[in-house]
């Protein structure tokens, strides 16, 4: 269940944003993608998830091994928390819902419509979806947005458990999650040549 990226070049809106990315993500390990806003963290994750095409380079991963968690959580407001989660569980093949609900502290709100959840509770539900996919390689885009300290701890515990079971995670994040097995990759080094290097405010004096 190893994810290997070789010499990957990816583009957003036809413009090359990152070039020459390469890394290997082994089972039981996590890699944190870092870099300033707009560097292309989401683009890399979407490319690896197969949602957009790579301009060049290779992405090698076992078939059906990748689960992607985007900024949007894919939650239907009129369905309850349990219905939302059990839908994804059914799509990916049945998993133990009760355990996943408990792991993200959702048991108490399992029968509430998702429309009544707070932003942090929605995020927890979105992250719980990863656990019911049963896929080994998780791609997470800013997973801790709108999570409080306690929920972040739950999330870190979930990731740690996943890594302990031989899974792997590729996480775009600004904050230090404190994962013991995590390496960090700064994407600034791969910024593509098409990326404007000067800001529009260069040369403007106050």
């Amino acid at each position: 269940m190893t994810l290997t990226i070789t010499n990957l070049t990816c583009a957003r809106g036809g413009l090359t944003v990152l070039a020459g990315i390469g890394f290997t993500l082994l089972p039981g390990h996590a890699l944190i993608l870092q870099g300033p806003n707009g560097i292309g963290k989401t683009t890399v994750l979407r490319t690896i998830a197969g949602l957009q095409r790579a301009q060049s380079g290779q992405i090698t991963a076992p078939a059906d091994s990748i689960a992607y968690a985007a900024h949007a959580d894919g939650i239907k407001p009129t369905l309850t928390v349990r219905e939302n989660l059990s839908f994804w569980a059914a799509i990916f093949g049945k998993r133990d819902l009760a355990m996943t609900l408990a792991a993200m502290n959702l048991t108490g709100i399992a029968d509430r419509p998702a429309a009544t959840l707070s932003a942090g509770q929605k995020r927890r539900l979105g992250l719980a979806r990863l656990a019911v996919t049963g896929r080994p390689i998780w791609l997470l885009d800013e997973p801790t947005v709108s999570l409080d300290a306690a929920s972040t701890a739950l999330f870190v515990a979930m990731i740690t458990r996943h890594l302990g079971q031989g899974g792997a995670a590729l996480i775009a994040s600004h904050i230090d999650l404190g994962l013991p097995q995590a390496a960090t990759l700064d994407l600034t080094a791969f910024a593509g040549h098409d990326r404007p290097q000067t800001s529009p405010f260069d040369g403007v004096t106050a």
């Binding site: 998830a49 197969g50 949602l51 957009q52 095409r53 059906d64 990748i66 689960a67 992607y68 985007a70 900024h71 949007a72 959580d73 894919g74 939650i75 239907k76 407001p77 009129t78 369905l79 219905e83 839908f87 994804w88 059914a90 799509i91 990916f92 093949g93 979806r129």
Partner: protein, 218 residues
């Protein structure tokens, strides 16, 4: 796949899902036409097949722009695209769910509206047959239009412009079935054409729709 069907049906019947909206529009249209055209029974009987089909087309359009747009907005479409079920299957199942909440109720309500429009008695079996065989095409073709416009904000109007011309064959053969049925002529040929349009759309268009969604997600 079945989970997706159940989810879509559940979403449609919950608050804000739009279930019954198309049906209500269809009912209103059939009530308004006699008021506009006048109460002359022979005129009404003559235009009934056309009015019923145009009503079905328009009420089908009402709910189409939500078919993929809502899933795209909340991110479910991206997640479905990376799920183990093929996107073609997703499109087919969502079209089926759309038909179940629009085409099927229209088929069931059509005879009552035929009565309002003074449709001759001989036409009723043909009316039901034409709606049952023709409305699936409306959902499948509509899903293709919805897939093409999924990335667009306010894509609803463009969707109507794209989809209505594609509905022409269904409209022509559908109305022809009922017209021939009411006049006691052989209506089997247009009915077979109608079934062929539905079957061919259902077999081919999910592939085109899935390709359109993939391009729009990129």
């Amino acid at each position: 796949m079945i989970a997706l069907l159940i989810r879509d049906l559940r979403l449609a019947t919950r608050s804000g899902g739009g279930f019954g909206l198309g049906l209500a529009f269809f009912l209103l249209m059939a009530v308004l036409v006699p008021l506009g055209v006048g109460p002359d029974p022979t005129t009404l009987a003559k235009i009934a097949p056309g009015i019923l089909w145009v009503g079905a087309l328009l009420s089908c359009l009402l709910s189409l722009d939500r078919l993929f747009a809502l899933d795209a907005e909340d991110g479910s479409l991206e997640l479905l695209a990376t799920a183990p079920i093929p996107l073609e299957g997703v499109v087919a199942v969502k079209s089926l769910a759309h038909w179940a909440v629009t085409g099927l109720p229209l088929t069931l309500a059509a005879p009552a509206l035929g009565l309002l429009l003074n449709l001759p008695t001989a036409g009723y079996p043909w009316l039901i047959a034409a709606f049952a065989l023709g409305t699936p095409a409306l959902s499948v073709i509509g899903a293709f239009g919805a897939a093409l416009t999924v990335g667009l904000k306010r894509g609803g109007l463009l969707l109507s412009l794209l989809v209505l011309p594609l509905y022409l064959p269904t409209l022509i053969f559908g109305a022809e079935v009922i017209r021939r049925g009411t006049q006691g002529l052989d209506a089997a040929t247009p009915l077979l054409f109608l079934a062929a349009i539905s079957l061919a759309s259902a077999a081919l268009l999910p592939f085109a729709s899935a390709a359109a969604i993939r391009v729009n997600l990129r």
